[in-house]
């Protein structure tokens, strides 16, 4: 693409900085025998915020002879500009078309980005379906959390990496090189890939259906494993970080140094897919983290660092790490952010320290309004925990608190829904009951309520999602109950997007056709309300002889075959069933740190969480 053509494209878009590349720490290797295009099916500012993609960018570029470049979904203005100019989508590093790469890999973070994958392929003149792509086309691979149910996107990809990519991606790249050196056919490449643990080759499996839906998945060759087992990076402390973290010019969603303190979570919240699919918990040492914090801050110039994990408050050495890292960072005028702190792990002293560097809003996630409901989902947090945490925060001068909840959870009653407003009311009263000189002026209490989406490989994978009518009723109930909560503000969303998400997260291969049709009907950036086309999606399902309801709103039987049953995420189905049954009885399961709950079963007994 010439400079002139490129400039003309940029002149036509709202945010040209999304497409220019050239950021500090961008990697462009001169010598490369293998080129990998790392693609993210959402806009730059979201894709660049994804830690996993940043790790892979570093891991791949650190390989000898491998050049990894980035490509993001073009916003609709750029898509139109490209189409009208007859130009192909390009990578940021060298403005090369995706077709010119050996391997094109997509990160799958969110089901509602799937339509953008097709946009990116179309703008690259790469056929959508793997069976339509000849030997001259790049190898198309995918990975990321959504890969634990790869079926809806199975028709498009040659291979899908399930689980941690730090080791699996280099193995995949090396298998590709060995295949190329041997001069074999594409089929033989797929056989080489299927032999890598954690790599799923969809074309080696065939799904069967009857009038009631999915019945079975059948392996077509013994070159592929019967079940694909999730890759687990055993030693996180020795694992690569993000290298010299790239520093975007434009503001991105998570615009700071991201320091991953641990992977996995021991809490066992039953709705939480991440809680199951990143087991076991692996922690990094305090020493490694301090070293990396200093290095990342000085190579980026960022003034904020975030201690990232699913539940940073649970990190074993937090009480040693936190004072030390805050002290060191304060000297460099870097503020430390602690996302995903649990209510019961908060400490007043730490809050006060954080306040001294920078004052940000506090976010808590009780997830449900009543203790019964919190027991069902195994969110082992009590009302006292929340009120104590809020009280500490108010005393430390905080006035903005955000509370996250879900509605539509299994076994939920109206009492549980109204419990959300009750809890908000108590938080508000707590604030205004404090003497004026001890608290800030006005409370900003944001109550954010999302719709529960049952996810595969969780204890709720069999559950029906509430239909939109029922969700709307519950939302109206809450709107009424939230009136009169002083300082309170209720946020909720229309629910059809959650329905679609529920369908795709537990979908089977037939949804690939639905996705194709939705794309043809113009579906793009579905998670952006200004682009979401619910009617087009409904039509797409209808034309395929399917309904979104049967995927989203149907309760599955515990013994029913599941479309993702051939993916072994290492947490056993038996364990999930036990968790499901306990949930129905509102019986809680203890945190794994208090003793093993046996989620891996006998086959993986050697996976120890805590040495």
């Amino acid at each position: 693409m010439t400079e002139e053509v490129f400039n003309r494209l940029l002149d036509r878009v709202e945010k040209p900085a999304r497409y220019i590349g050239g950021e500090y720490n961008m990697q462009v290797k001169d010598q490369a025998d293998l080129r990998f295009a790392l693609c993210f099916p959402d806009v730059y500012e979201i894709g660049m915020s994804h830690l996993g993609s940043r790790i892979l960018y570093h891991v791949l570029n650190a390989m000898d002879g491998v050049r990894c470049e980035r490509c993001f979904a073009p916003w609709t203005d750029m898509e139109q500009a490209l189409r009208e100019a007859g130009e192909e989508l390009f990578t940021l590093e060298t403005r090369s078309p995706l077709k010119s790469f050996d391997i094109v890999g997509f990160s799958l973070l969110y089901e509602m980005c799937y339509s953008n994958i097709l946009t990116m392929l179309a703008l690259s003149h790469i056929p959508f379906l793997s069976r339509d792509r000849g030997e001259d086309m790049p190898l198309l691979v995918a990975g990321g959390p959504c890969a634990v149910n790869p079926e809806p996107i199975a028709p498009f990809f040659d291979a899908v990496v399930i689980g941690d990519g730090e080791e699996a991606e280099p193995e995949l790249v090396n298998a590709y090189r060995a295949w190329r050196a041997a001069g074999e056919t594409k089929q033989q490449l797929l056989e080489r890939l299927a032999a890598i643990p954690g790599v799923y080759v969809p074309s080696f499996y065939e799904a069967a259906y009857d009038e009631n839906g999915f019945t079975a998945i059948r392996r077509l060759t013994d070159k592929a494993p019967e079940k694909v087992t999730r890759r687990i990076l055993e030693d996180l402390d020795a694992a690569p970080f993000v290298g010299d973290q790239l520093v975007p010019h434009m503001q991105i969603v998570h615009d700071r140094v991201a320091l991953e303190v641990m992977r996995g979570c021991t809490r066992g919240c039953r709705f939480c897919q991440a809680g199951y699919i990143y087991r076991p918990v692996r922690e990094r040492s305090e020493k490694t983290l301090l070293e990396q914090a200093e290095r990342l801050v000085s190579c980026t110039g960022y003034d904020e660092i975030s201690l990232l994990s699913l539940s940073t408050g649970d990190y074993s050495h937090l009480h040693d790490l936190l004072p030390e890292i805050m002290d060191r960072m304060e000297k460099k005028r870097v503020s430390v952010a602690l996302p995903s702190l649990r209510i019961d792990s908060l400490l007043k002293e730490e809050l006060e320290k954080m306040q001294s560097v920078r004052k940000a809003g506090l976010t808590f996630a009780p997830e449900a309004g009543t203790q019964r409901m919190r027991d069902v989902i195994n969110k082992n947090v009590t009302e006292e925990d929340l009120l104590r945490a809020c009280s500490d925060a108010f005393e430390s001068g905080w006035t903005g608190v955000k509370l996250y909840f879900m509605i539509g959870l299994p076994t939920e009653t109206d009492e549980d829904v109204l419990g959300i407003a009750e809890l908000a009311k108590k938080v508000s009263r707590l604030f205004y009951a404090m003497p004026k000189e001890k608290r800030g002026k006005g409370l900003r209490l944001t109550v954010s309520v999302s719709t529960f989406v049952p996810k595969p490989h969780t204890a709720f994978q069999w559950c029906a999602q509430n239909d939109p009518e029922e969700i709307r009723r519950k939302q109206r109930l809450l709107v009424g109950a939230m009136k009169g909560v002083r300082g309170g503000e209720l946020h909720y969303h229309p629910s059809f997007l959650s329905v679609l998400e529920a369908a795709f997260s537990r979908g089977d291969r037939r949804l690939g056709d639905v996705l194709l049709r939705a794309y043809e009907k113009g579906c793009r950036f579905d998670s952006w309300s200004e682009h979401f086309k619910p009617d087009a999606w409904q039509e797409a399902f209808h034309e395929c002889g399917l309904t979104v309801e049967e995927y989203a709103h149907r309760q599955r039987a515990l013994d029913e075959p599941l479309p993702w049953g051939h993916v072994d995420v290492v947490v056993t189905e038996d364990y999930l069933k036990r968790e499901y049954e306990k949930a129905m009885e509102a019986v809680t399961t203890k945190d794994c740190r208090q003793g093993c709950n046996g989620c891996f079963g006998r086959a993986y007994a050697d996976h120890r969480c805590f040495a």
């Binding site: 400039n7 003309r8 940029l10 002149d11 040209p16 900085a17 220019i20 590349g21 050239g22 950021e23 500090y24 961008m26 520093v247 010019h249 434009m250 503001q251 000085s298 190579c299 980026t300 110039g301 960022y302 003034d303 005028r333 920078r358 004052k359």
Partner: protein, 232 residues
């Protein structure tokens, strides 16, 4: 101490917004481990400011800025350390220590010189461009429509802000102009408005690219100046 320097931004860097540029320079200053002075208050930020804002899509040879540092650093070291950590398309030069007691650079800003590459859709001859420029410069008023903050379109005379304009090159379908115009804290010559008037005059639609070549200041020793009273 306070250092004044010029940032060169070309190529991809042209597509950064003013805010992006501020963020990028601040981070570079931190990477260079400059002893920055910070503002007081809730969200302390480095005391660094550009003299003017550059439109997204424009290149610049010299965007002047100033930054306050704790302690002393030789301007040459300042340049070298910063240049080692700037992204592609950006470089600093002309660093000097700011004179004692200087107020904001923006307050002294007076004018700027631009190179404009204009590509009209229909073919035009150099003589036509020269004739159009002469006629425009002879006028007392060049009226354009300007969008106000509230979105309304109001008439504006841009002639007082246009100091010089001459044709410096002609290459195939495009021609090059050298333009000097007012640039102050309150505004100045909008090159886009000027190009549109010129294209109208030539009876063609078209597009253009722009590079700021220099910024001129009043009464700042060591910084480029047009000389007193030249364009008043």
């Amino acid at each position: 101490m306070r250092i004044i320097a010029a940032l060169h931004e070309t190529g991809r860097a042209a597509y950064l917004s003013h805010l992006d540029m501020q963020r990028t320079l601040q981070r570079a200053l931190r990477r260079a481990d400059m002893p920055l002075q910070y503002s007081q208050g809730f969200n302390p930020h480095p005391l660094m400011a550009f003299a003017g804002a550059l439109s997204t899509g424009f290149e610049s040879q010299r965007e002047w800025f100033d930054v306050r540092l704790e302690g002393e650093i030789a301007p040459g070291d300042f340049e070298a350390r910063l240049n080692a950590v700037l992204p592609e398309g950006m470089a600093v030069s002309h660093a000097v220590e700011a004179p004692e007691g200087l107020s904001t650079l923006t307050g002294h800003l007076a004018a700027a010189r631009y190179t404009l590459w204009v590509r009209p859709e229909k073919a035009v001859k150099a003589a036509e461009v020269n004739s159009a420029l002469n006629q425009l410069l002879e006028r007392e008023e060049i009226m354009v429509r300007k969008r106000t903050k509230s979105g309304a379109m109001v008439p504006q005379n841009i002639r007082p802000q246009l100091y010089e304009a001459r044709l410096t090159g002609k290459d195939g379908g495009s021609f090059t102009l050298d333009v000097l115009g007012e640039l102050t804290a309150g505004g100045g010559l909008r090159t886009e408005a000027f190009v549109n008037v010129l294209l109208d005059f030539l009876g063609s639609a078209g597009s253009f690219r722009c590079r700021r070549e220099e910024m001129y200041f009043d009464e700042v020793p060591g910084l480029p100046s047009l000389g007193k009273g030249k364009h008043e």
